[in-house]
């Protein structure tokens, strides 16, 4: 049997790592869908209806799987982290309830109209429902990130003892809910969602464009994929540089508010100034593989780089080392490497965006086979970047579940047995593996099937009139 604390933490890690894929997909698709719908309603060009219908299918599947996995997440606070929920419920439960009432309700009800109602409602209401769905997905992120950012930089509360339990009491709602971390998290998260979906779109479109233009295969709807590639590149060109810019500001904010996490990101053990930014670092002894900054280190670094990043321009700035904290360090190797992968991917995406833009400007967007291969290879890397980014955020703040207030191990349900926790953990590992497999299968089928055929489009002429005559026979 796995220890209930370890099993609960693993289970929560697995459920969040799998769950985040689907909200990223829907949050990232939302602005595209609003744009497609607007163009469809306004211009009545069939290509926008194709774009809207094709990507709506993928949105709908992502939404369903996201709901299934998200429900688990909401309930896991109660099932596995009951002590945390009792202690922090007064502050933490509110945002979750408001996420349901304000955001999820909006998204789910209007999704009914958006997916099923094109022929039932007016253009105007249809367009409004695309906005409602998109707004719903983004508002969900607002409330979830308010809850999460409060755990990172908690404010506006006091801890009192009630019936022998330490309980967090809300004293200043504005300080608590508009806490300092929230804006950094929200901007970084939303931009990464759009960026990830742009990369995904670009990769999928590049595959068809590549097969057609480079390999000479006849591809149905090639215009659809060319358009998709261009739209995705525009989105990438906007989001990729932004992601690195506010990522840098975010890292500085972490240095100021969660120095232990920052030290883990840079693997700084001793407090030092003029700390180099290691691009890569390897221990020379294999036994120290999980410690990227042992004394005998082979690394390639920029002198003073980490200090420069932390302070926003001063290479002499001091970084507090992990040894100087009273609490045990988070798993440093995981945080260190996850951070590096995220940053490297961020720069790679910028390169991709400029490369694509340059080819486009030269009129060679559809001919550069290396670019297409790079885009195809990168189609899922946005999601990888999101995952490693969350690993930095969540693993990096350990051992705290609420920074400086409550340790993660103290938050686990007291009555939970090792047998129960192990049983559900095994269930999740198999269930979520199957779910991911199923999702991948369905999405790849949708991509292989391509956009709806021209004759199925409703804006393509007078088929609607004949249809409605058939249906009135009761």
């Amino acid at each position: 049997m796995v220890d209930p604390v370890i099993a609960s933490r693993l289970q929560f890690a697995i459920t969040t790592i799998v769950h985040i894929i689907f909200p990223v997909m829907s949050m990232g698709l939302a602005p595209f869908l609003i744009y497609f719908t607007w163009k469809e309603v306004r211009s009545e060009q069939p290509i926008y209806e194709q774009l809207r219908r094709f990507w709506t299918r993928i949105f709908a599947v992502s939404f369903v799987v996201g709901t299934v996995t998200g429900l688990v997440l909401e309930f896991e606070f109660g099932t596995n982290f009951a002590a945390f929920s009792t202690t922090a419920g007064e502050l933490f439960g509110g945002p979750l309830a408001l996420e349901g009432m304000m955001a999820f309700m909006l998204e789910a009800t209007f999704l009914g109209i958006f997916v099923f109602g094109r022929e039932r409602v007016s253009d105007r209401l249809y367009f409004l429902s695309s906005i409602a769905v998109g707004l719903g997905t983004w508002l969900s992120a607002v409330w979830i990130l308010i809850a999460n950012s409060w755990m990172q930089t908690p404010r506006g509360f006091e801890v009192v003892v009630e019936n022998g339990h330490r309980v967090v009491k809300l004293t200043d709602p504005l300080a608590a809910y508009l806490n300092p971390r929230f804006p950094y998290m929200f901007v970084h998260m939303q931009n990464s969602a759009v960026e990830s979906v742009a990369l995904f779109m670009a990769g999928v479109a590049a595959y068809y464009v590549f097969r057609h233009h480079v390999w000479g295969y006849p591809i149905e709807h090639i215009g659809f994929w060319e358009k998709t590639l261009k739209i995705a590149l525009v989105a990438l060109l906007i989001t990729a540089p932004l992601q690195v810019l506010h990522g840098d500001a975010y890292a500085r904010h972490v240095y100021e508010t969660q120095p232990q996490k920052f030290a883990a990101m840079e693997a700084v053990w001793e407090t030092e100034s003029y700390v180099p930014e290691y691009i890569v670092a390897f221990p020379t002894d294999v036994n120290d593989l999980l410690d990227p900054r042992t004394k005998d280190l082979f690394g390639i670094g920029i002198p003073g780089g980490a200090s420069w990043l932390a302070s926003g321009g001063d290479p002499q700035a001091t970084i507090r080392g992990l040894e100087s904290f009273d609490t045990q360090a988070p798993p440093v190797a995981i945080v260190f490497w996850a951070f590096r992968i995220m940053v490297a991917l961020g720069f790679w995406f910028i390169l991709l965006a400029f490369w694509g833009a340059y080819r486009w400007w030269r009129g060679e967007l559809f001919e550069d086979d290396l670019l297409h291969k790079a885009l195809m290879g990168s189609s899922l890397l946005g999601f990888v970047a999101v995952e490693v980014g969350w690993i930095v955020t969540e693993v990096g703040r350990q051992p705290w579940v609420i920074q400086g207030v409550m340790k993660t191990e103290a938050g686990v349900s007291p009555g939970l047995t090792g047998a129960e926790a192990t049983f559900t953990l095994l269930g999740f590992v198999t269930g979520y593996a199957l779910l991911l497999g199923l999702y991948t299968y369905v999405v790849s089928r949708l991509i292989r099937a391509g956009p709806p055929a021209d004759e199925d489009l409703q804006s393509s002429a007078d088929s609607t009139a004949t249809e409605s005559e058939v249906t009135t026979s009761d």
């Binding site: 299934v68 429900l71 688990v72 309700m105 009800t109 009914g112 369905v442 009761d474």
Partner: protein, 334 residues
């Protein structure tokens, strides 16, 4: 910060907020049980169809609605967490395996319609058809067990009372689903819905009677609640509503049947809340006023909820009016 200061010390307008939130919690639960209840009922009645076109019609009937309906469960969980965090934590961790069974069942129900439409071949459709039926049957059954455990403060996961309550809730969702199909279908589908609905209504009455009788005889601490006139009135009302449901269905007044089905769900949930009141977690001996959060967040949540819930009703009006009337024969789930 003076406004915040006054919000921190006294309940909004001097209202009995803990009791109101207890009522709101059960109201949200009733909304879920009524709205998603008809989705479950349609999912159970899916088992009675083997014609693929009819199956498609059943899926098309619930297609635009069930996402929104299910959100009431999410809001229920969130509301319980926000207003009574200790109860949320106690209940969900106490009935740990039951909670995960409910989530798994909901997962099957949620995935099935989406997956069913992804491929045309028989094997695939049969599998997801079964998943839809199983998910739609086990979810209300397990929810019934969960709610009974909650009411009794039971320490074991499975009890006879729990099983009976589970079966009663399953019957109720069929009553609800059949009434919904009365509005959404025509012809053979509607005739069959009527037959199944009437049978399920009689079954529901019998099962509820048995469950209440068993709870009354085995749980002395709940007996005083049972004897209150409100509870007796609700039991009688349930009997009357079942009779009305059958009559309305027989006379083909489908809107009335649907309204009565809603009445049955709300009567059951009110009965449950009435039996529980003023305790909200019997196992931990917590009353509403023990378990409620402090005044400041409670006041804030009250303000937020009183703005948001009317909006939510607005969304539902838009959605249900966009898809009012029977489904057209070529409409499918996709």
């Amino acid at each position: 910060m003076t406004e915040i200061g006054s919000l921190a010390s006294e309940p909004l307008f001097g209202l009995p907020l803990p009791e109101l939130w207890f009522a709101l919690l059960f109201f949200i639960f009733a909304m879920f049980l009524f709205l998603d209840g008809f989705d479950f009922g349609v999912g159970i009645l899916f088992a009675t169809r083997d014609d693929e076109h009819e199956q498609e019609q059943l899926l098309a009937a619930v297609g635009p609605f069930w996402d929104g309906n299910e959100v009431w469960l999410v809001v229920f969980g969130g509301t319980l967490f926000a207003a009574f965090p200790a109860v949320y934590a106690n209940l969900f961790s106490r009935y740990y395996l039951l909670m995960f069974a409910i989530l798994a069942a909901l997962g099957f129900r949620g995935l099935a319609p989406e997956m069913y439409e992804e491929r045309e071949d028989t094997q695939w459709r049969r599998f997801w058809g079964y998943a839809f039926i199983i998910g739609s049957t086990t979810t209300p059954f397990l929810l019934g067990m969960f709610v009974m455990n909650w009411l009794l403060g039971a320490s074991a996961l499975i009890s006879l009372q729990g099983v009976l309550a589970g079966l009663a809730v399953v019957a109720l969702t069929v009553v609800d689903g059949a009434a919904f199909l009365g509005l959404k279908t025509r012809g053979a589908l509607r005739d069959d819905a009527r037959t199944y609905g009437v049978r399920a209504a009689i079954g529901y009455l019998v099962l509820t009677g048995l469950t209440l009788g068993l709870v009354y005889s085995t749980t002395p601490s709940l007996r005083p609640s049972f004897q209150s006139p409100a509870i007796v009135g609700l039991v009688l009302l349930t009997g009357g509503l079942v009779a009305g449901y059958i009559l309305a269905f027989r006379t083909q007044r489908y809107h009335l049947t649907f309204v009565i089905a809603a009445g049955l769900v709300f009567a059951l949930v009110t009965l449950l809340a009435g039996l529980m009141f003023p305790v909200v977690d019997r196992a931990a001996e917590l009353t509403i006023r023990d378990a409620i959060i402090s005044t400041l967040p409670l006041n804030l949540m009250t303000i937020m909820a009183s703005v948001l819930l009317p909006l939510v009703f607005g969304y539902f009006v838009v959605l249900y009016s966009a898809f009012s009337g029977p489904i057209e024969s070529e409409e499918t789930y996709r």
